[in-house]
């Protein structure tokens, strides 16, 4: 039994009163509360900065131009700020990264949770965790010098694969999110109670049938959470797309063309010495706002799915 207000009722109340009588205790409480406030203030600052600077942006560029135009061309005349071209770039790499990473990640999770010998699992899990620890600029370098040059070009023909293409970016993004999908899904699958598996085996199911028809559905909310988190990471990843996908906005889902994503544009502005007050600098925050809202959506959805699977079996 832990000492919580629910379990101790009046007793805890008495203890709290006693604690509050102690000056040192009050000071420490105040310090701890101010630590916790930092995170809330961070969120407030993010929202505040994005809203304030975007507001300035929307004084120069109308909402209808931002959301209805289909061309993103902030640096050359005629300038045009149609966000959808950048969103399409993000969608392109996200889509292809998921096409690669979801099957591989889920297969890895099923293998580790349902098939692997405990020793094999002990050996493989740290390797996958190492993949999660690789800085993304390293993936970007590897994608540029190896995946595009040594794999995609010989395989698909040099004339078909431009130096900067969405496919190489998607492949490296897939490698980046593979551990996220595999380890959260594996966690969810391992948490499925043994009884369910044994009941299915008792009815004559094979290992594959248990994995696909029993464990997989039972772990579904955790699996969905892992994919949502992976999407949020892909959408927000910067270095891989900035280096591999190029900097030409392009409204296409074709993986073999160069695209610019929302983060790619933001980095491009960050690399130049853009002065405060110019419309490029403000556009940075308007695009940032869009990016923040999209990742917020996926993060919060993932939070609720994670909580659901925790509640189901723990």
């Amino acid at each position: 039994m832990s000492v919580t207000p629910e379990s101790f009722g009046g007793m805890t109340e008495a203890l709290r009163k006693r604690a509050l009588g102690h000056p040192g205790e009050v000071l420490i409480m105040a310090l701890l509360v101010s630590c916790a406030a930092v995170s809330l203030i961070t969120t407030a600052l993010i929202v505040g900065v994005l809203v304030r600077e975007s507001a300035t942006f929307f004084q120069d560029v109308s909402f209808s131009e931002f959301f209805l135009e289909t061309e993103w061309q902030p640096l050359f005349e005629p300038v045009s700020f149609g966000i959808w071209e950048l969103v399409a770039g993000t969608l392109n790499v996200t889509f292809w990264a998921l096409v690669i990473a979801v099957p591989l990640g889920l297969a890895t999770a099923v293998y580790l949770s349902e098939y692997a010998h405990p020793n094999t699992r002990k050996l493989l899990k740290p390797v996958l965790e190492a993949l999660a620890g690789v800085p993304t600029v390293v993936y970007a370098y590897f994608g540029l010098t190896f995946v595009t040059q040594e794999v995609l070009r010989p395989l698909l023909g040099t004339e078909n694969v431009p130096v900067f293409n969405a496919l190489a970016a998607s492949i490296m993004l897939a490698v980046m999110i593979l551990p996220t999908i595999a380890s959260i899904s594996e966690d969810a699958m391992s948490n499925v109670p043994r009884d369910l598996r044994e009941a299915a085996y008792g009815l004559g199911s094979t290992r594959l049938e248990v994995a696909i028809r029993v464990v997989f559905p039972a772990a579904l909310s955790g699996i969905i959470a892992s994919i949502l988190l992976a999407i949020a990471r892909v959408v927000g990843e910067t270095m891989i797309v900035a280096i591999l996908a190029g900097s030409t906005p392009n409204m296409t889902l074709n993986p073999l063309s160069g695209v610019q994503t929302m983060t790619g544009f933001m980095l491009q502005v960050g690399l130049g010495d853009t002065q405060r007050g110019t419309v490029d600098y403000q556009a940075l925050f308007a695009v940032g706002m869009m990016l923040f809202l999209i990742t917020l959506l996926f993060n919060i959805a993932a939070y609720f799915f994670v909580r659901r699977y925790r509640e189901e079996y723990e």
Binding site: L32, C35, S39, T42, T108, Y111, L124, G133, T206
Partner: protein, 299 residues
Amino acid sequence: MASQPIILRASDAVARRQLVSRLSRYLFLGSTLIGVCVLVVLAYDTIATGASRFSFDFITNYPSRFSEKAGVRPGVLGTLWVLAVTVVASIPVAIGTAIWIEEFAPRNRFITIVKINLANLAGVPSIIYGILGLAIFVRFYDMKQSILAGGLTLALMIIPMTVIAAQEAIRQVPPSLRDGALALGATRWQSVRHNVLPNAIPGIMTGIILAVSRAAGETAALIMIGGFTFIRFDPGPPPVNFDALLDSFTVLPIQIYGYTIDSRREFQANASAGIIVLMIGVMTLNLIAAVIRERFRRY
């Protein structure tokens, strides 16, 4: 008289199901090994290209127009300085937040909001932290494009993930330890200070080290702060000078980025060698975290 052995044979349909199931093992194993292969190829390719350039001089030299003379000294020093600021700024805040949430916070709707907020902050893209740092530290507080601005930005970025790891570690401490202290008349802080924290420290340390290794590889946020610059001096005259905190800086991952996008082919080897330096650092941190986790696995 030998008894006839009874042979149970699966009929066609069942045999097929069992065969498919047996084969599926190799399909799943194959998929798992793809991730492992990528890591191996990545490591091999990097070492094969970068080994020739990787040397002591490479770490201690300033950047140069000549690829054989160029080094990553400003990046290495910049990374160390920025991380020092990040660690000092983030650790107390992160541990304090985790203690408050787990041990003191009232269990009501407010705490749910605090937790959702943390989960979301942990998923906010690093480039958003970059533009936050740009607007707040660089411009508003006028720290310029300094080590201090970079370190504080990364601190904000790693606080959420450190808090979540520390919360996990604090939750692992058996309630009996708290109850015992409280029953003996300790105040709540005394029980946290003397019973909960000492037992949660290994888990908290693991979380901090992993977060710092994430910060060590961070590129985008620091480019937004203005870390993509050509630096030919060491921050602050030696031995240690706190004015250095306001010096401009670059970090190792940004130097790797610079070498990667360099159109001159001979600089690719420098990018690889830089990656070797960075990965040695990051993997060492990860290894230390893993060792602490295994060493103190108790409850």
